[in-house]
């Protein structure tokens, strides 16, 4: 255990936690916005898969990472349009529609990968960028300020989301249509337009999450996300529909994963219970959800289609 409490290992573990948390944070932030407007999107994982593929394919073909990010963003927006039309304008059941989006994203990305790429080929990974002065701070400089731009963007979007949700008219509209769409509608707020916009933003974030994942790894493989989108949905509940809580959840999930991996590498967790220890992040998340679920109320109109009376 002593080997774990060395500066280099602790710093590396923290850096690993931040890396692992990045795609979860982006996806969960977007899902938070959507859910605050009353729309549950279980298709996040599918959107991430499809965006990750298109980001990968774009970088593979052009070598331009930022074009890859842009394409992933656009794919997220397009999936947002699709999901918005289904759930807002056609008032479809959100759970089933989300599953449909997930299956579509999973299968279509798989199909496209086989048709267009085949054997996995490495692409450039996002380089880390040191933030002057901050990156030299002992202990926290490397994990927090020697990261890639997608990670910086993910964490910068947390306060942006807080401000948008709590300090802007658009954010007020989002919250009002998520709590009481009939009342919001009677006050002249367009429930459909607000929810549609929230869905678009949420899916764009999921697109960025897919891009962040694939550009951090430098490779694509079918089923790359391994259910990250569903964890992101759980993190929204974990974070009590608050961006800061969601960030805490994403970091906790990343940290537990990183600590378990580090303990395995150091032999602190013996190989004989290695698989059992790998369940720790999920177990921690479930326990936290059970504890938090009793104290926190979800948006009152979550999953309820708006039908004007």
């Amino acid at each position: 255990m002593g080997d774990f409490f060395t500066t280099s290992v602790l710093v590396a573990t923290a850096a690993s936690a931040v890396r692992l948390a990045t795609p979860y944070l982006l996806a969960a932030l977007g899902e938070t916005i959507g859910q605050r407007s009353g729309v549950l999107n279980l298709g996040v994982d599918g959107v991430m898969m499809l965006s990750a593929f298109f980001a990968y394919w774009t970088v593979l073909e052009t070598g331009n990472m930022w074009l890859g990010v842009l394409v992933a963003l656009l794919v997220g927006l397009m999936m947002g349009v699709l999901y918005g039309v289904i759930t807002v304008f056609f008032e479809a059941t959100q759970g089933i529609s989300g599953i449909g989006i997930f299956i579509f994203g999973l299968g279509f990305s798989d199909l496209l990968f086989r048709q267009q790429v085949g054997t996995p080929k490495p692409i450039r990974r996002l380089p880390n960028i040191d933030i002057p002065l901050l990156s030299d701070i002992p202990y926290i400089g490397e994990p927090l300020f020697q990261r890639n731009l997608m990670t910086y963007a993910a964490f910068a979007l947390v306060p942006v989301t807080v401000i948008v949700l709590n300090k802007t008219t658009f954010g007020l509209n989002i919250r009002s249509v998520g709590e009481n769409p009939q009342a919001a509608d009677s006050l002249g707020v367009s429930v459909e337009r607000t929810r549609f916009s929230a869905i678009m933003i949420g899916n764009a974030f999921a697109g960025l999450a897919g891009a962040a994942l694939v550009l951090q790894l430098g490779i694509f493989q079918p089923h790359l996300t391994q259910g990250m989108g569903f964890i992101a949905v759980a993190l929204v509940y974990f974070g009590a529909w608050k961006p800061l809580g969601v960030m805490g959840g994403a970091l906790l999930f990343g940290l537990v994963n990183a600590v378990v991996l580090q303990w395995k590498a150091l032999g602190i967790i013996p190989v004989s219970i290695s698989d059992l220890a790998g369940m720790a992040p999920a177990v921690v998340t479930i326990i936290a959800l059970v504890l938090l679920a009793r104290r926190v109320n979800a948006p009152a109109a979550l999953t309820k289609p708006f039908i004007r009376s």
Partner: protein, 328 residues
């Protein structure tokens, strides 16, 4: 409006399902023309057929068979029930030989195989046929290539610290890692093993590799299809990598030193010969260095010293003649 909504939702789910099924079945590949008389074979594999690892090793091997074959593939069946449906479907379609490429498909095969006595099922990695007389089993002596990789790894490591990224502690991963560890430790290196708990989690494999690097590992290896993420980490850090199952040189052309490659065709030929003579199963096979089913392929792009290469060749010779114990 409500009816329209339900219709649209159903259509979306149906479209998604169709795409998923299409992607799973869409890689059907004819290794030769499908003229009458050709042996029909099918592979059901858990990951992509071009994963540079486990599934690709079988696809490449069937394509290397010296026979006229019509090959169908269903890959990406990481859910066992999907694989079982595919296996049964191929048998119902009258496919001559169905390969269930995954240890986890064994229980399904035990139910399906007795229903199709005229079909030959080939199942692995497994060391026994579950008493079924129309099932051949196959397994790799992956400890052998692991041992050879370990010999070289210990020799090229400057600080004697080596990291291993494994999936779940099961199947051919265990003997590979055991063989690798035995040789590397005999060469004076310290080996750290991380089982991520997943065959498919590329992100977790990449972070496992990062954890090894944080602990000063200067050589890495790993097994299963999720290691593509770990190879990327090794490539970024300029750390040599040792592959297994398929040749992984293309993932890091300057840093992959050697890959243990599975050539299942060596035992597949024997199985098909037996089938031709009327024996549809009931025997287990192993690929190893001696029968040529395992080949350690060195990357010419990596400047390995002659001494180290000679020690690897000596290890291979020793394993074949029985003078080297891989410790597995």
């Amino acid at each position: 409006m409500r009816k329209k909504m339900r219709l649209l939702t159903s259509l979306l789910a149906l479209l998604g399902s169709f795409v998923l099924v299409a992607s799973a079945c869409g890689s059907s590949d004819d290794s030769s023309d499908s003229s009458s008389g050709a042996l029909t074979m099918a592979i059901v594999a858990p990951s992509a057929s071009d994963d540079l690892a486990f599934s690709q090793s079988m696809v490449d091997s069937v394509n290397a068979l010296d026979r006229e074959i019509t090959l169908s593939i269903t890959d990406g069946t990481f859910i066992v029930e999907e694989a079982a449906a595919a296996i049964r479907g191929y048998a119902e379609d009258g496919i001559d030989v169905v390969i269930a490429h995954g240890t986890q498909f064994g229980a399904s095969l035990a139910e399906i195989a007795p229903d199709f006595p005229d079909t030959t099922f080939i199942w692995g990695t497994a060391t026994d046929t579950q008493g079924l007389d129309n099932v051949f089993a196959y397994s790799p002596a992956s400890d052998e290539g692991g041992y050879v990789n370990g010999v070289v790894a210990a020799a090229v490591s400057a600080n004697g610290k080596i990291g291993v990224v494994g999936p779940v502690e099961a199947g051919d991963a265990v003997p590979y890692i055991n063989g690798f560890t035995t040789a590397a430790e005999a060469g004076g290196a310290q080996v750290s093993v991380t089982y991520t708990g997943s065959f498919g989690d590329v992100a977790l494999a990449a972070e496992a590799a990062q954890a090894h690097l944080a602990n000063d590992a200067d050589v890495l290896t790993g097994t299963a299809q999720m290691v593509v993420g770990a190879v990327g980490v090794a490539a970024d850090a300029g750390v040599p990598w040792f592959g297994t199952q398929s040749n992984q040189t293309s993932l890091a052309p300057d840093l992959v030193i050697a890959s243990q490659v599975y050539h299942w065709e060596v035992v597949l030929e024997e199985m098909l010969d037996l089938r031709d003579s009327g024996t549809k199963g009931g025997k287990a096979f192993e690929i190893n260095l001696a029968n040529g089913g395992l080949v350690v392929e060195f990357n010419d792009g990596y400047d390995l010293s002659d001494d180290v290469r000679a020690s690897a060749d000596a290890a291979i010779a020793g394993i074949i003649d029985g003078s080297v114990n891989t410790g597995a």
